[in-house]
Symmetry: C2
Subunit: 203 residues, 2 copies
Protein backbone atom coordinates (compact mmCIF):
# COMPACT_ATOMS: atom_id res chain seq x y z
CA UNK A 1 0.00 0.00 0.00
CA UNK A 2 1.71 3.15 -1.21
CA UNK A 3 1.90 6.40 0.67
CA UNK A 4 -0.69 8.80 -0.72
CA UNK A 5 0.34 11.92 -2.53
CA UNK A 6 -2.21 13.78 -0.47
CA UNK A 7 -1.27 12.46 2.93
CA UNK A 8 -1.07 15.93 4.41
CA UNK A 9 -3.67 18.45 3.34
CA UNK A 10 -3.62 21.88 5.00
CA UNK A 11 -3.44 20.57 8.59
CA UNK A 12 -4.69 17.83 10.86
CA UNK A 13 -6.49 14.90 9.19
CA UNK A 14 -8.93 16.11 6.51
CA UNK A 15 -9.06 12.71 4.84
CA UNK A 16 -12.02 13.75 2.71
CA UNK A 17 -10.13 16.66 1.23
CA UNK A 18 -7.57 14.16 -0.01
CA UNK A 19 -10.38 12.24 -1.74
CA UNK A 20 -11.44 15.42 -3.47
CA UNK A 21 -7.93 16.15 -4.73
CA UNK A 22 -7.48 12.56 -5.86
CA UNK A 23 -10.73 12.49 -7.82
CA UNK A 24 -10.02 15.90 -9.32
CA UNK A 25 -6.56 14.85 -10.44
CA UNK A 26 -7.88 11.68 -12.08
CA UNK A 27 -10.63 13.53 -13.92
CA UNK A 28 -8.32 16.30 -15.08
CA UNK A 29 -5.81 13.84 -16.47
CA UNK A 30 -8.60 12.09 -18.33
CA UNK A 31 -10.52 15.09 -19.66
CA UNK A 32 -8.23 18.06 -19.16
CA UNK A 33 -8.63 21.03 -16.82
CA UNK A 34 -11.06 22.88 -19.02
CA UNK A 35 -13.03 19.74 -19.75
CA UNK A 36 -13.54 18.89 -16.09
CA UNK A 37 -16.27 20.80 -14.28
CA UNK A 38 -16.61 21.34 -10.56
CA UNK A 39 -19.85 19.39 -10.82
CA UNK A 40 -18.01 16.40 -12.28
CA UNK A 41 -15.59 16.38 -9.37
CA UNK A 42 -18.37 16.76 -6.81
CA UNK A 43 -20.26 13.86 -8.36
CA UNK A 44 -17.14 11.70 -8.36
CA UNK A 45 -16.80 12.05 -4.58
CA UNK A 46 -20.56 11.92 -3.93
CA UNK A 47 -21.12 15.56 -3.00
CA UNK A 48 -22.77 18.62 -4.39
CA UNK A 49 -20.86 21.52 -5.88
CA UNK A 50 -21.54 23.65 -2.83
CA UNK A 51 -20.27 20.94 -0.55
CA UNK A 52 -17.04 20.82 -2.51
CA UNK A 53 -16.34 24.44 -1.71
CA UNK A 54 -15.94 23.49 1.91
CA UNK A 55 -12.73 21.71 0.87
CA UNK A 56 -11.43 23.94 -1.88
CA UNK A 57 -11.28 27.68 -2.40
CA UNK A 58 -11.66 27.68 -6.18
CA UNK A 59 -11.03 25.63 -9.28
CA UNK A 60 -7.68 27.09 -10.25
CA UNK A 61 -6.42 27.08 -6.70
CA UNK A 62 -7.38 23.42 -6.42
CA UNK A 63 -5.25 22.64 -9.46
CA UNK A 64 -2.41 24.53 -7.84
CA UNK A 65 -2.80 22.63 -4.56
CA UNK A 66 -2.84 19.31 -6.41
CA UNK A 67 0.36 20.17 -8.22
CA UNK A 68 2.03 21.44 -5.07
CA UNK A 69 1.26 18.18 -3.27
CA UNK A 70 2.40 16.19 -6.29
CA UNK A 71 5.70 18.01 -6.47
CA UNK A 72 6.19 17.55 -2.73
CA UNK A 73 5.49 13.85 -3.08
CA UNK A 74 7.85 13.60 -6.04
CA UNK A 75 10.58 15.08 -3.89
CA UNK A 76 9.73 12.81 -0.96
CA UNK A 77 9.15 9.53 -2.79
CA UNK A 78 11.56 9.77 -5.70
CA UNK A 79 14.23 12.44 -5.46
CA UNK A 80 15.29 12.25 -1.82
CA UNK A 81 15.76 8.44 -1.63
CA UNK A 82 17.47 8.39 -4.97
CA UNK A 83 20.04 11.02 -4.08
CA UNK A 84 21.49 8.59 -1.54
CA UNK A 85 22.54 6.17 -4.27
CA UNK A 86 26.20 6.62 -5.15
CA UNK A 87 26.44 4.88 -8.50
CA UNK A 88 24.91 7.17 -11.14
CA UNK A 89 23.68 4.32 -13.32
CA UNK A 90 21.87 2.65 -10.45
CA UNK A 91 20.57 6.05 -9.33
CA UNK A 92 19.01 6.63 -12.73
CA UNK A 93 17.48 3.15 -12.83
CA UNK A 94 15.89 3.65 -9.43
CA UNK A 95 14.72 7.14 -10.31
CA UNK A 96 12.81 5.85 -13.30
CA UNK A 97 11.45 2.86 -11.44
CA UNK A 98 10.23 4.87 -8.44
CA UNK A 99 8.78 7.62 -10.60
CA UNK A 100 6.79 5.22 -12.75
CA UNK A 101 5.56 3.27 -9.74
CA UNK A 102 4.47 6.51 -8.09
CA UNK A 103 2.72 7.64 -11.25
CA UNK A 104 0.80 4.38 -11.58
CA UNK A 105 0.17 3.71 -7.91
CA UNK A 106 -1.07 7.01 -6.48
CA UNK A 107 -4.09 7.99 -8.46
CA UNK A 108 -2.90 10.28 -11.19
CA UNK A 109 -1.95 13.40 -9.33
CA UNK A 110 1.62 13.31 -10.59
CA UNK A 111 0.57 13.43 -14.20
CA UNK A 112 -1.01 16.86 -13.80
CA UNK A 113 2.42 18.35 -13.22
CA UNK A 114 3.34 17.72 -16.81
CA UNK A 115 0.07 18.03 -18.66
CA UNK A 116 -1.84 20.87 -17.02
CA UNK A 117 0.81 23.37 -15.96
CA UNK A 118 -0.28 26.06 -18.37
CA UNK A 119 -3.74 26.30 -16.83
CA UNK A 120 -2.22 27.88 -13.73
CA UNK A 121 -1.98 31.62 -13.25
CA UNK A 122 1.49 32.79 -14.33
CA UNK A 123 2.85 33.17 -10.79
CA UNK A 124 1.91 29.64 -9.77
CA UNK A 125 3.01 28.32 -13.14
CA UNK A 126 6.50 29.69 -12.61
CA UNK A 127 6.65 28.20 -9.14
CA UNK A 128 5.68 24.71 -10.30
CA UNK A 129 7.93 24.95 -13.34
CA UNK A 130 10.79 25.87 -11.04
CA UNK A 131 10.24 22.92 -8.75
CA UNK A 132 9.87 20.54 -11.68
CA UNK A 133 13.08 22.06 -12.98
CA UNK A 134 14.85 20.85 -9.82
CA UNK A 135 13.75 17.35 -10.68
CA UNK A 136 15.03 17.71 -14.22
CA UNK A 137 18.31 19.01 -12.81
CA UNK A 138 18.70 15.82 -10.77
CA UNK A 139 18.47 13.79 -13.97
CA UNK A 140 20.77 16.13 -15.87
CA UNK A 141 23.34 15.98 -13.10
CA UNK A 142 23.26 12.20 -13.07
CA UNK A 143 23.80 12.14 -16.81
CA UNK A 144 26.76 14.49 -16.46
CA UNK A 145 28.23 12.24 -13.81
CA UNK A 146 27.85 9.25 -16.11
CA UNK A 147 29.51 11.27 -18.82
CA UNK A 148 32.52 12.08 -16.60
CA UNK A 149 32.87 8.39 -15.83
CA UNK A 150 33.03 7.76 -19.55
CA UNK A 151 29.94 5.59 -19.48
CA UNK A 152 27.63 7.83 -21.49
CA UNK A 153 27.25 7.73 -25.24
CA UNK A 154 27.96 10.95 -27.07
CA UNK A 155 24.66 12.82 -26.80
CA UNK A 156 22.99 16.10 -25.87
CA UNK A 157 22.33 15.90 -22.12
CA UNK A 158 19.43 18.37 -22.18
CA UNK A 159 17.58 16.52 -24.90
CA UNK A 160 18.29 13.14 -23.32
CA UNK A 161 16.85 14.43 -20.05
CA UNK A 162 13.65 15.41 -21.79
CA UNK A 163 13.44 12.00 -23.44
CA UNK A 164 13.79 10.30 -20.06
CA UNK A 165 10.95 12.18 -18.37
CA UNK A 166 8.94 11.87 -21.56
CA UNK A 167 9.28 8.09 -21.42
CA UNK A 168 8.29 8.05 -17.76
CA UNK A 169 5.16 10.13 -18.19
CA UNK A 170 4.35 8.27 -21.36
CA UNK A 171 4.22 4.96 -19.56
CA UNK A 172 1.68 6.33 -17.11
CA UNK A 173 -0.51 7.41 -20.01
CA UNK A 174 -0.62 3.93 -21.55
CA UNK A 175 -0.90 1.94 -18.39
CA UNK A 176 -4.61 2.45 -17.97
CA UNK A 177 -5.63 1.51 -21.48
CA UNK A 178 -3.24 -0.70 -23.40
CA UNK A 179 -1.06 -2.49 -20.89
CA UNK A 180 -3.17 -3.21 -17.86
CA UNK A 181 -1.77 -5.52 -15.20
CA UNK A 182 1.76 -5.82 -16.57
CA UNK A 183 3.26 -3.11 -14.44
CA UNK A 184 6.53 -4.79 -13.58
CA UNK A 185 7.19 -5.88 -17.16
CA UNK A 186 6.44 -2.37 -18.38
CA UNK A 187 8.87 -0.83 -15.91
CA UNK A 188 11.66 -3.28 -16.68
CA UNK A 189 11.34 -2.81 -20.43
CA UNK A 190 11.26 0.95 -20.10
CA UNK A 191 14.32 1.11 -17.90
CA UNK A 192 16.22 -1.24 -20.19
CA UNK A 193 15.16 0.70 -23.29
CA UNK A 194 16.29 3.99 -21.79
CA UNK A 195 19.57 2.62 -20.50
CA UNK A 196 20.40 1.20 -23.92
CA UNK A 197 19.75 4.61 -25.41
CA UNK A 198 22.05 6.32 -22.94
CA UNK A 199 25.00 4.10 -22.10
CA UNK A 200 27.95 2.97 -24.14
CA UNK A 201 27.60 -0.71 -25.02
CA UNK A 202 29.45 -3.08 -22.70
CA UNK A 203 32.88 -3.75 -24.27
Amino acid sequence: MPVSVFQSAPKGAPARTADVYRAAAALMVEKGFGGTSIGDIAQAVGMTKAGLYHHISGKQDMLYQIMKHAVDALERIVCTPVRLIDDPEERLRQLMRLHIQALIGHGLAFATIWSEVNHLVPAHREEIRGRVGEHLELIRETLRELSENGRLRSLDVNIATMHIVNAITGVSRWKFQDFASEEEHLIQETVAYTMAALLKPAP
Copy 2:
Protein backbone atom coordinates in the same frame (compact mmCIF):
# COMPACT_ATOMS: atom_id res chain seq x y z
CA MET B 1 6.77 25.74 -47.90
CA PRO B 2 5.24 22.50 -46.66
CA VAL B 3 2.04 20.99 -47.94
CA SER B 4 -0.77 21.89 -45.55
CA VAL B 5 -2.58 19.22 -43.60
CA PHE B 6 -5.79 20.90 -44.62
CA GLN B 7 -5.09 21.23 -48.31
CA SER B 8 -8.36 19.65 -49.29
CA ALA B 9 -11.44 20.57 -47.28
CA PRO B 10 -14.83 19.21 -48.45
CA LYS B 11 -14.53 20.34 -52.07
CA GLY B 12 -13.32 23.16 -54.28
CA ALA B 13 -11.19 25.84 -52.61
CA PRO B 14 -12.53 26.75 -49.16
CA ALA B 15 -9.22 28.22 -48.08
CA ARG B 16 -10.83 29.94 -45.14
CA THR B 17 -12.14 26.70 -43.73
CA ALA B 18 -8.57 25.44 -43.63
CA ASP B 19 -7.63 28.53 -41.60
CA VAL B 20 -10.36 27.70 -39.12
CA TYR B 21 -9.19 24.12 -38.70
CA ARG B 22 -5.59 25.22 -38.35
CA ALA B 23 -6.37 27.78 -35.66
CA ALA B 24 -8.63 25.35 -33.84
CA ALA B 25 -5.96 22.66 -33.82
CA ALA B 26 -3.34 25.03 -32.46
CA LEU B 27 -5.63 26.29 -29.69
CA MET B 28 -6.75 22.81 -28.72
CA VAL B 29 -3.20 21.54 -28.44
CA GLU B 30 -2.37 24.52 -26.26
CA LYS B 31 -5.43 24.60 -24.02
CA GLY B 32 -7.19 21.29 -24.59
CA PHE B 33 -10.54 20.61 -26.22
CA GLY B 34 -12.59 21.54 -23.19
CA GLY B 35 -10.49 24.61 -22.52
CA THR B 36 -10.94 26.02 -26.01
CA SER B 37 -14.24 27.78 -26.71
CA ILE B 38 -15.84 28.39 -30.05
CA GLY B 39 -15.41 32.07 -29.31
CA ASP B 40 -11.66 31.62 -28.90
CA ILE B 41 -11.40 29.97 -32.29
CA ALA B 42 -13.58 32.61 -33.94
CA GLN B 43 -11.44 35.37 -32.47
CA ALA B 44 -8.26 33.64 -33.65
CA VAL B 45 -9.42 33.78 -37.27
CA GLY B 46 -11.08 37.20 -36.95
CA MET B 47 -14.69 36.10 -37.10
CA THR B 48 -17.72 35.94 -34.87
CA LYS B 49 -18.99 32.72 -33.39
CA ALA B 50 -21.93 32.79 -35.77
CA GLY B 51 -19.66 33.22 -38.73
CA LEU B 52 -17.70 30.17 -37.70
CA TYR B 53 -20.76 28.01 -38.06
CA HIS B 54 -20.72 28.66 -41.75
CA HIS B 55 -17.55 26.55 -41.89
CA ILE B 56 -18.20 23.92 -39.24
CA SER B 57 -21.23 21.97 -38.17
CA GLY B 58 -20.39 21.71 -34.47
CA LYS B 59 -17.52 21.69 -32.02
CA GLN B 60 -17.12 17.94 -31.72
CA ASP B 61 -17.50 17.38 -35.43
CA MET B 62 -14.80 19.97 -36.04
CA LEU B 63 -12.42 18.01 -33.81
CA TYR B 64 -13.29 14.89 -35.78
CA GLN B 65 -12.66 16.62 -39.12
CA ILE B 66 -9.31 17.91 -37.87
CA MET B 67 -8.24 14.46 -36.82
CA LYS B 68 -9.44 12.89 -40.05
CA HIS B 69 -7.40 15.36 -42.07
CA ALA B 70 -4.40 14.81 -39.80
CA VAL B 71 -4.55 11.05 -40.17
CA ASP B 72 -4.88 11.40 -43.93
CA ALA B 73 -1.86 13.70 -43.98
CA LEU B 74 0.09 11.29 -41.79
CA GLU B 75 -0.58 8.55 -44.31
CA ARG B 76 0.32 10.80 -47.26
CA ILE B 77 3.39 12.55 -45.85
CA VAL B 78 4.94 9.88 -43.64
CA CYS B 79 3.67 6.35 -44.14
CA THR B 80 3.37 6.08 -47.92
CA PRO B 81 6.83 7.46 -48.80
CA VAL B 82 8.45 5.48 -46.02
CA ARG B 83 7.02 2.15 -47.12
CA LEU B 84 9.11 2.39 -50.29
CA ILE B 85 12.35 2.19 -48.32
CA ASP B 86 13.73 -1.32 -48.32
CA ASP B 87 16.19 -1.24 -45.44
CA PRO B 88 14.20 -1.37 -42.18
CA GLU B 89 16.72 0.70 -40.22
CA GLU B 90 16.70 3.48 -42.78
CA ARG B 91 12.91 3.20 -43.00
CA LEU B 92 12.58 3.78 -39.27
CA ARG B 93 15.00 6.72 -39.33
CA GLN B 94 13.04 8.38 -42.12
CA LEU B 95 9.73 7.64 -40.44
CA MET B 96 10.79 9.46 -37.29
CA ARG B 97 12.35 12.32 -39.21
CA LEU B 98 9.34 12.88 -41.44
CA HIS B 99 6.87 12.55 -38.60
CA ILE B 100 8.66 15.07 -36.41
CA GLN B 101 9.09 17.51 -39.28
CA ALA B 102 5.40 17.21 -40.09
CA LEU B 103 4.45 17.74 -36.46
CA ILE B 104 6.56 20.87 -36.18
CA GLY B 105 5.97 22.29 -39.63
CA HIS B 106 2.24 22.04 -40.24
CA GLY B 107 0.55 23.92 -37.49
CA LEU B 108 -0.23 21.46 -34.77
CA ALA B 109 -3.04 19.45 -36.25
CA PHE B 110 -1.12 16.20 -35.96
CA ALA B 111 -0.74 16.49 -32.24
CA THR B 112 -4.49 16.34 -31.68
CA ILE B 113 -4.50 12.74 -32.87
CA TRP B 114 -2.65 11.67 -29.76
CA SER B 115 -3.83 14.10 -27.12
CA GLU B 116 -7.52 14.71 -27.74
CA VAL B 117 -8.86 11.37 -29.03
CA ASN B 118 -11.06 10.72 -26.05
CA HIS B 119 -13.11 13.87 -26.62
CA LEU B 120 -14.63 12.27 -29.69
CA VAL B 121 -17.90 10.38 -29.62
CA PRO B 122 -17.21 6.62 -29.28
CA ALA B 123 -17.87 5.81 -32.96
CA HIS B 124 -15.44 8.43 -34.24
CA ARG B 125 -12.98 7.57 -31.51
CA GLU B 126 -12.82 3.97 -32.68
CA GLU B 127 -12.34 5.07 -36.27
CA ILE B 128 -9.42 7.35 -35.46
CA ARG B 129 -7.91 4.82 -33.08
CA GLY B 130 -8.06 2.25 -35.85
CA ARG B 131 -6.31 4.44 -38.36
CA VAL B 132 -3.66 5.42 -35.85
CA GLY B 133 -3.29 1.71 -35.18
CA GLU B 134 -2.30 1.21 -38.81
CA HIS B 135 0.50 3.68 -38.27
CA LEU B 136 1.63 1.84 -35.14
CA GLU B 137 1.54 -1.40 -37.13
CA LEU B 138 3.97 0.06 -39.65
CA ILE B 139 6.43 0.71 -36.85
CA ARG B 140 5.86 -2.68 -35.25
CA GLU B 141 6.38 -4.42 -38.56
CA THR B 142 9.63 -2.58 -39.15
CA LEU B 143 10.85 -3.60 -35.71
CA ARG B 144 9.96 -7.22 -36.43
CA GLU B 145 11.89 -7.04 -39.67
CA LEU B 146 14.91 -5.67 -37.84
CA SER B 147 14.53 -8.47 -35.35
CA GLU B 148 14.54 -11.11 -38.09
CA ASN B 149 17.70 -9.60 -39.50
CA GLY B 150 19.26 -10.00 -36.06
CA ARG B 151 19.82 -6.27 -35.71
CA LEU B 152 17.39 -5.63 -32.86
CA ARG B 153 18.27 -5.82 -29.19
CA SER B 154 16.21 -8.22 -27.12
CA LEU B 155 13.12 -6.18 -26.27
CA ASP B 156 9.32 -6.12 -26.23
CA VAL B 157 8.28 -4.88 -29.68
CA ASN B 158 4.91 -3.51 -28.52
CA ILE B 159 6.42 -1.45 -25.75
CA ALA B 160 9.27 -0.26 -27.94
CA THR B 161 6.71 0.89 -30.52
CA MET B 162 4.95 2.97 -27.91
CA HIS B 163 8.23 4.49 -26.80
CA ILE B 164 9.01 5.48 -30.37
CA VAL B 165 5.76 7.34 -30.99
CA ASN B 166 5.99 8.75 -27.50
CA ALA B 167 9.38 10.23 -28.30
CA ILE B 168 8.08 11.68 -31.56
CA THR B 169 5.05 13.36 -30.05
CA GLY B 170 7.13 14.46 -27.08
CA VAL B 171 9.51 16.39 -29.30
CA SER B 172 6.64 18.34 -30.80
CA ARG B 173 5.48 19.32 -27.32
CA TRP B 174 8.86 20.79 -26.35
CA LYS B 175 9.66 22.44 -29.63
CA PHE B 176 7.57 25.50 -29.01
CA GLN B 177 8.80 26.27 -25.56
CA ASP B 178 12.21 24.95 -24.63
CA PHE B 179 14.07 24.25 -27.85
CA ALA B 180 13.03 26.90 -30.34
CA SER B 181 15.01 27.16 -33.57
CA GLU B 182 17.11 24.02 -33.17
CA GLU B 183 14.84 21.77 -35.17
CA GLU B 184 17.50 19.83 -37.07
CA HIS B 185 19.62 19.22 -33.99
CA LEU B 186 16.54 18.06 -32.10
CA ILE B 187 15.60 15.58 -34.82
CA GLN B 188 19.11 14.20 -35.17
CA GLU B 189 19.51 13.67 -31.43
CA THR B 190 16.11 12.04 -31.14
CA VAL B 191 16.71 9.64 -34.00
CA ALA B 192 20.16 8.73 -32.64
CA TYR B 193 18.77 8.27 -29.11
CA THR B 194 16.01 5.99 -30.33
CA MET B 195 18.27 3.96 -32.59
CA ALA B 196 20.72 3.39 -29.75
CA ALA B 197 17.85 2.13 -27.63
CA LEU B 198 16.72 -0.31 -30.31
CA LEU B 199 19.69 -1.70 -32.19
CA LYS B 200 22.42 -4.03 -31.14
CA PRO B 201 25.71 -2.17 -30.80
CA ALA B 202 27.97 -2.35 -33.81
CA PRO B 203 30.41 -5.26 -33.26
